[in-house]
Amino acid sequence: MTSLPAHLAHLTRRQFLGHQAGGLGTAALAALLGKELAAAPRGANGGQPEFPNSTPRAKHVIYLLQNGAPPHVDTFDYKPAMVEYRGQELPESIHKNQRLSTMTAGQKQKLVLPAFAPFRQHGQCGAWVCDFLPHTASIVDDITFIKSMHTTQVNHAPAITFFLTGAELPGRPSMGAWTNYGLGTESDELPGFVVMTSRDKEASCGQIFYDFYWGSGFLPTRFQGVKFRGSGDPVLYLSNPEGISREVRRGLLDDLARLNELKYAESGDPEIVTRIAQYEMAYKMQTSVPELTDFSTEPESVLKMYGPDVQRQGSFAYNCLMARRLVERGVRFVQCFHAGWDHHRNLSTQFEIQCRDTDQPSAALVQDLKQRGLLEDTLVIWGGEFGRTPFCQGDINDRKSLGRDHHPYCFTIWMAGGGVKAGFSYGASDDFAYNPAVNPVHVHDFQATVLHLLGIDHERLTYRFQGRDFRLTDIHGQVVREILA
């Protein structure tokens, strides 16, 4: 959509309103105004004219955030050498007494705990993947692994906040908000930044999804993520009240627009015109959102790909399919949080369950996007807020209660589509997967790279607040050019 200078939009409005007695249908008028307003900075959809500042490789992002932090050692970072060290003290030359969470900081031993399940090589690229992730294994030729991620945060909420906002304390805009602020959205019927959450069925993880994870911080609130809920109306207050039909509502909105136009003619406040447009968009969302969540039009084969949970609202599989449908409809940034990975003491039971819950839907999403030609300009990201310790938390001989603690120093994420290489692996950890050995990638580098794929120079996407120009990457961040296709 081309951007219309504000004063021009204003003039057009005035011309329309000047002729309103002539009897242009209110709905038509409102729709027309809606389109134009959407383009104006004060409307719903505008971005900053400066962006994209380079050719975007991705137009959409789907971020499958694995909250609780999956263990890199057990999933993708294959370390066969660890097997023979099982139960032995991790060499100090490896762990260097780096600070850990208080849960294991006091633990006297750091006994090496190798991967929980067997690994196998897959695809043309020969990527090693744990046997619990057969579906992800089948798409390794479409994805890039980054095996040298590291962060500075050791607790969940600060680490996720750091990943999404570039700062560990709440209050900065989330990546999706930045993206929409910079680029605007392509949809005039749906918000540009949609968030969905799910968790493991046993609720073993207990991580809470704080709304500042998708907040707009100091950016205008229209950029904040809209959380689609896991039960009931996906958008709050979407349904008309009992007894007000869509026809009654239409009539009321028509009169509302008429009365507001009369008010505008008297008052001259352009905000009134924006309001008319926003009420129209609300009305459209009342149709577009139920249509969005109606899976009955999906072919059986597609539903099958996502697995049996796909019809259960609020499941990870459901959210993955929703993500594709949202992207199809022009939503810029979709964030799916899944909690269930915080296996301090239940690795032997929960790890496999989490793999099962997330593996098939994640892989299906990539395949589904690919077969529709959407993967080209949609970036899919899969990863946790940090990794888990390569050493054991708890008693290594008690299979029932052992686990791994939080590990910020090295972990693995993967990305697919949207301009990253396919069948590629970047960076590597040391022999115990404790620290990056080659090409470390910091969270700010990751953020710079995602913005770059969207055609945004992370150093130029700034917002002035409290006298300072803030950006997602603070004063850091290097684009990881090696993973770009």
């Binding site: 607790n155 909420a157 809470i208 008309n240 007894g243 007000i244 001259g268 150093e459 409290q466 006298g467």
Partner: protein
């Protein structure tokens, strides 16, 4: 020279306008365009820093350091040449006079811009030379370079940032139009308008002003009576009277408190994991009351920052200190308490900085401020004031954290006093009894001992049953060892009757053993399905006469079912042994008042009754024994007691003495009951105390903590130790006072403080006009926006202080001004010229806060419940919000009745999932002094569909249908007035009337839809109203609630 210079710059900036047009920076373009039109002489506004028309230099042709130069230096140079010494490049600082105007290796040569390195570097085309460096993506505009040159050429007069200089009361400016100004505010506004060649808008319609001022001061719309009273009052004092009434309304404090709650990050829960509920609403209620009684702002400050340090602080003054306990509390597992405590201290520093000084101190947590002259060291000097609070950082009084203040109601206070009295009475009785009884302990000890002085054990003789019978039909079989086993039928209730012969005439004790057996569930000893039994009564008859039994001891008693209940004469009580199944259990009874007559053996009949409501709780295997040992020794003695008794009394250690004394007392009948009473009284007192709510307050440790600079803000990376202190850029602190929060608070409210009054009146201005005179209400620093009306800001600040920090006085001045009174209608020219209404050539018009929209709907509908204060209430909310946010750990239990219709201020605020009925509200997670106003479809959905609004729409409909005028159009007009205050215009009435007719048809044709609609919400629809009619009016009322005018203040 100067004239030529300015016209030249005018020409250049026209070029710049075109460039900006191309770049498409729309907002800027309009402003620059209009300022060209405005300033015929060609003097131009600052392009980048001041983004509103309001910020054009007031004085033409002169360069003002603070206004014109400092912002440029700050924006383009301070990052590397500013206050932050760690980031400073080339050892050059441009934020101080000494640095910028240094004489050695000078960068600025006063009077000679062409010789000044500063200018040469800025205009350089060499990428290695030019400043700022190309990497920064920043470049000065031609206009800015011109300003710098002018400043240097005219002598490079240094100054200070305006906000760090104390405000002086300016003279009221002269204005041409003499009949407009109502008070001094208007003189400043009008003078500026005249300079801008603008004229004020005509006054708003009286009812528009009435709605505006009523919403602004109370957050509620005027009532019909108030509208009519005002319309009738034709005197000059009509407006004053309205303002007086509103300022004295209890609703005033409720309205004004909201903004302060945002600033204080007030909420009803801690935030973070678990998000437990706290009870800080005492503080919230204190705020409302303080505002209602117009507590002067200086006192308001003192009590909240240092109420605990005032002489003999009152309960209210202690509650007030809760201001700095409103921050989030992190109770996550694995959290280091000290790390949290440091977080809280830092939060307090930053909140204090924002709220009282408009300083963005958070940067200084990790490093010196990049723009403002505040160092990291000074940040921690401020932190010292908040670092000695008697707190641990842990949630040590879960769900709250110490220090706490109990806040009883008078009734609770009375109850605790009464419970204390009872406790003391029963404790006294117990102590007296113990003292009396202890006198008998030596005798008791002697009685226990045998001839050798050692405690003796009774000899028990097993009684072999002569007959044994189950009254309900179980099979009882005597065993070789004297035991009896029950088999066969297992009746629900039973009584065993056993006859035995005793070995001799002297009997003192009876022992009942309940024995395990492999044939029983869980090996018994009971026949219940878990192995339990309830022995409801034991009755022993000797020679046909019942004997009196006293329970002595059982080896195990199930809670609530002690052995004493087996001899209490009641069959609905008894002795049981859960969960100690599969083990033998013993009950020992003393046989009292046995006739001494007779010489030989006796025949006893022993009835064991099992009449409990618990089915089949019958003993499966038992054995009976008797003894003639002295009563004193019947009670089994533990090894510890035995050992203690073996020690001579004077040689026993304290533990042994205590053990024996307690044991001895326990053997005395009646003692246990007295002790139980005392214990119950203690528990009752504790319970009564527990019921008293507490609120978190601030109180210092007796010994202050040491404070250190924390490297990069990390709690465990200590740098230099620092003393209490305030930033040197601000006036010095009185050194005579002890260095504590009271001194800090007094410093903030000292008349010479340049920031407190300005920052506060600016927020008031924001309350009434939507934007502060300084738009960046949170930042008065170098990077903050310059005031649109600097003299007015200073005048208000001085007036505030000189009036004794009289808040209502300032509010009154504002709402009675001609400026505030203007109509908000505006032509396109004015809107293009001044889109944000910073010049105030019209009245304020913007969307109401969402909480006020809700309160307005409740008030208009007549549903509003005006109860004051108390804990947060849980109104309507779509299901699953809390559950989704907490994985079902916290359920939202919506309340009913009045709670649904309380003012929004009293809505329960869960920090991790705030109330969904509001939008564009502060997160209540950190301090917020300015909230965004956005306009999104999600807001429309809320006010269109939320139950609150539908029920309020019905309330409004009911109101006019039941009590309004009979005529339909008059009713419509009244409904309209209840929301908009003004009557509808004929075209508006026409639209509404037509829609109503259509809705009536719709709902008459579809009465079931009508039924559904009028059932939304928990109040019942009045039965006397026709359902389709009520539904049609309700629908129409939802439209009225969503009018832009209803959602807006205008």
């Amino acid at each position: 020279m100067r004239n030529r210079g300015t016209s030249a710059s005018g020409g250049r900036s026209n070029g710049m306008n075109r460039a900006l047009h191309k770049a498409g920076t729309v907002g800027r373009k309009i402003i620059v365009g209009c300022s060209v039109w405005l300033c015929g002489s060609g003097f131009l506004p600052l392009g980048l820093h001041t983004a509103a028309a309001a910020d054009q230099p007031a004085e033409k042709g002169s360069v003002d350091f603070s206004r014109d130069i400092l912002p440029i230096l700050s924006d383009y140079c301070f990052t590397c040449h500013g206050p932050d010494q760690n980031q400073r490049k080339a050892d050059l600082r441009l934020d101080t006079q000494e640095g910028a105007l240094r004489t050695e290796n000078p960068v600025i040569v006063p009077g000679k811009s062409s010789d000044s390195e500063l200018i040469l570097r800025i205009v350089s085309t060499d990428p290695g030379e030019v400043m700022p460096p190309p990497k920064s993506n920043r470049k000065l505009s031609a206009r800015q370079i011109e300003l710098l040159k002018q400043w240097i050429d005219s002598g490079a007069v240094w100054g200070r940032h305006w906000a760090y200089e104390a405000p002086r009361r300016p003279l009221l400016p002269e204005v041409k139009r003499s009949d407009w100004a109502q008070n001094p505010i208007d003189r400043f506004i009008l003078a500026r308008l005249e300079r801008e060649r603008l004229t004020p808008a005509p006054p708003a319609r009286p009812e528009t002003w009435l709605r505006r001022v009523t919403l602004d001061l109370t957050g509620l719309p005027p009532t019909l009576a108030e509208i009519e009273d005002f319309a009738r009052d034709s005197s000059d004092q009509a407006c004053q009277r309205v303002v007086d009434r509103l300022l004295n309304s209890p609703r005033y404090g409720e309205r004004m408190a909201w903004d302060w709650l945002d600033a204080a990050r007030y909420a009803d829960t801690n935030g973070y994991q678990g998000d437990p509920t706290r009870s800080m609403w005492f503080w919230r209620d204190w705020v409302v009351e303080a505002m209602n009684r117009n507590l002067p702002f200086d006192q308001f400050t003192l009590e909240q920052l240092a109420g605990d340090l005032l002489p003999n602080p009152s309960r209210e003054q202690l509650i007030a200190t809760g201001f700095h306990r409103n921050h989030m509390i992190n109770g996550e597992g694995g959290r280091i308490a000290e790390e949290s405590r440091v977080d809280y201290v830092q939060d307090r520093v930053e909140t204090t900085g924002t709220v009282w000084m408009g300083l963005t101190l958070n940067c200084c947590r990790c490093h010196d401020h990049k723009f403002d002259p505040v160092t990291q060291r000074e940040y921690y000097q401020l932190a010292a004031y908040f670092n000695s609070i008697d707190e641990s950082g842990a949630t040590d009084a879960y769900p709250q954290a110490r220090p706490l203040l109990p806040v009883p109601t008078p009734a609770q206070e009375a109850r605790v006093a009464e419970m204390k009295q009872r406790e003391s009475t029963s404790q006294k009785a117990l102590a007296e009894l113990e003292q009396k009884l202890r006198a008998g302990q030596p005798d008791w000890e002697r009685a226990l001992a045998d001839q050798t002085g050692k405690p003796q054990s009774p000899e028990w003789t097993v009684l072999t049953p002569i007959t044994v019978q189950s009254q309900a039909g179980a099979t009882l079989t005597a065993q070789a060892d004297g035991a009896v086993l029950a088999t066969g039928d297992n009746p629900a209730r039973d009584t065993f009757v056993v006859t035995v012969k005793t070995p001799g005439p002297a009997l003192t004790g009876l022992k009942l053993e309940a024995l395990p057996d492999a044939s029983l569930v869980n090996s018994g000893p009971g026949r219940a399905d878990n192995g339990n039994f309830v022995l409801t009564e034991v009755v022993v008859t000797a020679d046909g006469r019942p004997l009196k039994l006293l329970a002595i001891a059982a080896d195990h008693e199930q809670g609530g079912l002690p052995l004493t209940q087996a001899v209490d004469g009641k069959n609905d009580t008894g002795w049981a042994i859960l969960p100690e199944f599969g083990k033998p259990h013993t009950g020992i009874f003393e046989i009292q008042d046995l006739p001494t007559s007779g010489t030989a053996e006796r025949t006893l009949t022993i009835r064991l009754e099992f009449q409990s409501i618990h089915v089949s709780h019958v003993i499966g295997k038992f054995r009976l024994s008797t003894t003639s040992a002295p009563v004193t020794v019947l009670r089994p003695i533990s090894e510890a007691i035995r050992q203690a008794l073996a020690v001579e009394p004077e040689k026993r250690n304290d533990a042994q003495k205590k053990l024996l004394s307690e044991y001895y007392l326990g053997t005395i009948p009646g003692y246990a009951a007295t002790k139980q009473q005392a214990e119950a009284a203690r528990q009752a007192r504790e319970q009564a105390e527990k019921e008293i709510p507490t609120t978190m307050i601030v109180r210092d440790l007796p010994q202050p903590r040491e404070t250190f600079v924390l490297l990069r803000g990390a709690y465990d990376k200590r740098g230099d130790k620092v003393a209490h202190g305030t930033p040197t850029v601000l006036p010095a602190l009185a050194t005579t006072a002890p260095p504590n929060r009271l001194a800090l608070a007094q410093w903030l409210i000292s008349p010479s403080h340049p920031l407190t009054a300005r920052v506060t009146v600016n927020r008031y201005w924001q309350t009434f006009f939507g934007t502060g005179l300084v738009k960046t209400a949170e930042d008065f620093g170098v990077q903050g926006e310059k005031p649109s009306h600097p003299e007015l800001l200073d005048w208000l600040a001085r007036e505030f202080v000189d009036s004794g920090w009289d808040v209502k006085h300032i509010h009154r001045l504002i709402v009675t001004s001609a400026t505030y009174r203007q109509s908000s209608n505006a032509g396109a020219d004015l809107i293009e010229r001044d889109p944000e209404n910073r010049l105030l050539a019209r009245g304020p018009r913007y969307r109401l806060p969402s909480w006020m929209i809700r309160d307005q709907a409740l008030a208009a509908s007549g549903l509003l419940v005006n109860t004051f204060g108390g804990r947060g209430v849980r109104g309507y909310q779509p299901p699953g919000i809390w559950e989704d946010a907490t994985f079902g750990q916290i359920r939202y239990e919506q309340e009913h009745g009045d709670a649904l219709y309380r003012r929004s201020l009293y809505t329960f605020w869960r920090r991790i999932a705030g109330p969904t009925m509001f939008f564009d509200v502060a997160s209540r997670q950190t301090c917020t002094v300015k909230i965004a106003r956005t306009n999104t479809p999600l807001h429309a959905l809320a006010t269109l569909n939320d139950v609150t609004y539908i029920e309020a729409a019905r309330g409004l409909a009911q109101r006019v249908l039941l009590n309004g005028p009979p005529d339909e159009r008059a009713r419509l007009a009244e409904m309209f007035r209840l929301i908009a205050t003004r009557p509808p215009q004929p075209p508006e009435l026409e639209i509404l009337s037509r829609r109503l007719a259509g809705l009536l048809t719709t709902y008459r044709e579809n009465e079931s839809a009508a039924q559904k609609l009028i059932k939304v919400g928990e109040t019942a629809a009045p039965p006397q109203l026709a359902v389709p009619e009520l539904a049609a009016w309700t629908s129409l009322a939802t439209l009225l609630f969503n009018l832009d005018e209803s959602l807006s203040k205008e």
